[in-house]
Amino acid sequence: MTLLDGLWAASALTALVAAAFGRHPAAGSWLTVLYGLQFLVVAMMGGLSEGADPVPASVSFVVLGYGLAWQFSALSWFFAVITAGAALAAAWFVSGAWGRAYAARGGDLRLLQLALALNPLAMYVLLASTDFLSLFVGWELVSWSSFLLMLSGGGVGVRWALRYLVYAIGGAMAVMAAMAQAHALTGSFGFGALAAAVPELSAASLWMLVILLAAGFGVKMGLLPFHLWQAGAYAETPGPGAAFLGAISSRMGLYAMLLTLFGGLGLGTLQALHIPFTPLEAHELLAWIAAFTMVLPTFTALRQNDARWLLAWHGIGQGGYMLLGVAMGDALASAGGMMHVFNHATYQAALFMAVTAVVYRTGTADLNRLGGLVTRMPLTFLVLLIGIIGLAGLPPMNGFVSKWLIYRALIDEGQPLLFVAAVIGTLGTIVSVYKLLHNIFLGRLRVEHESVREVPWSMLTPMLALAAVVFVTGLAPGPVLDWVAAVQRELGFAVLVPTLGGVDRPDGGLDMLWVVGIMLAGFGVGALIFLAGGRARTVHQLDNYAGGHFLSAEVRYHYSDNFYAGLMHRIGSWYRGSFQWLQDALVSATDFLAQGAAGVYRAVQPVTWLLGVTVLALWWAW
């Protein structure tokens, strides 16, 4: 029995326990232990990131003459460690008070636990793919298990889950087409055979493969224009589920792209594939799609009034950074893109959990119905603060490191427009996440939230742990970059050699140890200066300047709605909802065609069709 078998067994056991005892209050802790076990098994495979041989699974099948086998490599391991960590954190979050409250509110806790357990299992299967067939099998399993997780909450979530399903099946069909095409071209499902056949393939075949694979996996990643399902589907999933999905689920698309497009076809192929009548190559096309994915969803997030939706939209936008980095393909950029997967998982899970904690205490995620909670939930505030600094990509958190790598690479590569797009995405994120933080935690505390308390430790522990990871990997990104370097080596990218603090290069490197150190020292000096002043007296929030008015609890003295009025005055009219329009148009077109199709069966005398088609067929026969 190999470690991969052990991982699958542990994960399957978790799912079984969840299915059998998920409803039981004590099951949460046991499940958390089992998730911990999964994490441990993944950790035991850590040698993969140091160049150890791949870990195969001892099961394999032959179906219809096609072999199905699985193994873990450095790439798999990198994604698996994130998956295991996110699953552990999410399960820990559910295990205590949150799960009980969820069940008490009428939620189906067993279904949630089961769905939560099936997702990592499906992902471990997907991550162990060795060829197109096993990839597709795993891909479908992942799609359907996340569908189950989205459904588990019921209510509005079901509608979004169904929308997701349509997109997911569409994506899967594109993948299936690519897979059948690859098989037709090479006679095998293997990536190696495809890579070997690339020189003989025509540009048209290559383009077809690239487009089908990018579109198919892009659906899962929420790449433009296939992104419309993601925000709603993730946001309406029950909190910890959303944390897990938001952290890692859509990154499976990136994994599959890395495996097929960059590992299979090869980066060199993408760089040599020229788009007619333009100066662009295929990898730049991907980079531009990524750039639009960074910018547009981020600014959609800016307009959200629901904290969960805001985060989910940012999740789509951050996916763009990952693809941008990988598509640019040099050592820095690809390292940045892949490291961003890790970083995003850590802070996004923490953020979703913090928001869920707020919902747990206040019952709403509506950004216009909250405010001032920092005095009541200071630790949750801390987690959210660290999370948004990570999300916005500011020092000293880990999000900054991955984004810095991408910016630096874009300057190296001489891509000013992509660079500006990346920065615009970041600026939009900063603007948007401040609104998130402000509307929940700052400003005026509402009367009905006077009695709100900090959430229990069963919820705080995973949140704080994730926040600590966000900070520590920001302070010392070296280890994560080492994992990434192993992936780069496996996929044939140029390899980035990291230092503990980041990247050492004379023409502008990054040493986060110094950056963070100097920042903390600065804060210390700032604190000394601050304390040198007179002793301050803390006043009640109603003791405030109000232009001569006397404030009372009844007076709503808080600014939240239309937070960026001036900005929206300028760019508000740029929100056209074009993609929504496109989607609606597609649905309407389908509906229109369906009316026509149903009309075939409204004929008074169906023999008409018989006669008609006979005449046509005879005419055609001649």
């Binding site: 929308r163 349509v166 369906a594 009316q595 008074v604 005398q605 023999v607």
Partner: protein
């Protein structure tokens, strides 16, 4: 394929009967006419089948003692067409029986009226409101 003029006439007649019958099935409104049109079409089909064995100037392939001199027509199609005619008659009888029962149940012998009533019945059986101008699927669109 060059056929003698007589055979051309005969084949044309068979095919015409078939087409007339099918056209009648498309264009008729009265249920009995539809059944009759079916009969015409079947007659055309049968004629076509029996013609496949036809040879001009040939005699019936009845062997009594010595074989007749000269060509004989192919006996197989004749056997086949006998079967086909029987089947056709059976089906037409069934059709007429159904017409009677339909008339008793719906009080109409007109196809368009019958079709409309049938759709109403189907919708009613499914518990659906009649499909009118409301051109929308029964449930919310999935996307």
């Amino acid at each position: 394929m060059s056929l003698p003029p007589l055979e051309i006439v005969l084949y044309a007649g068979a095919v015409s009967l078939l087409i007339i019958g099918l056209a009648g099935l498309v264009m008729s409104e009265h249920l009995v006419r539809l059944v009759l049109a079916l009969g015409v079409a079947e007659a055309g089909g049968n004629l076509l089948l029996v013609l496949t064995g036809f040879r001009q100037g040939a005699v019936a392939p009845i062997l009594l003692g010595a074989a007749p001199s000269g060509p004989m027509v192919d006996p197989i199609p004749q056997a086949l067409v006998l079967t086909a005619i029987v089947i056709g008659v059976g089906v037409q009888a069934l059709a007429l029986a159904l017409v009677l029962r339909v008339r008793r149940a719906y009080g109409t012998v007109h196809m368009s009226a019958l079709r409309a009533r049938l759709v109403e019945d189907l919708d009613e059986a499914a518990g659906l409101p009649p499909e009118g101008s409301r051109e929308a699927p029964g449930v919310e669109r999935p996307v």
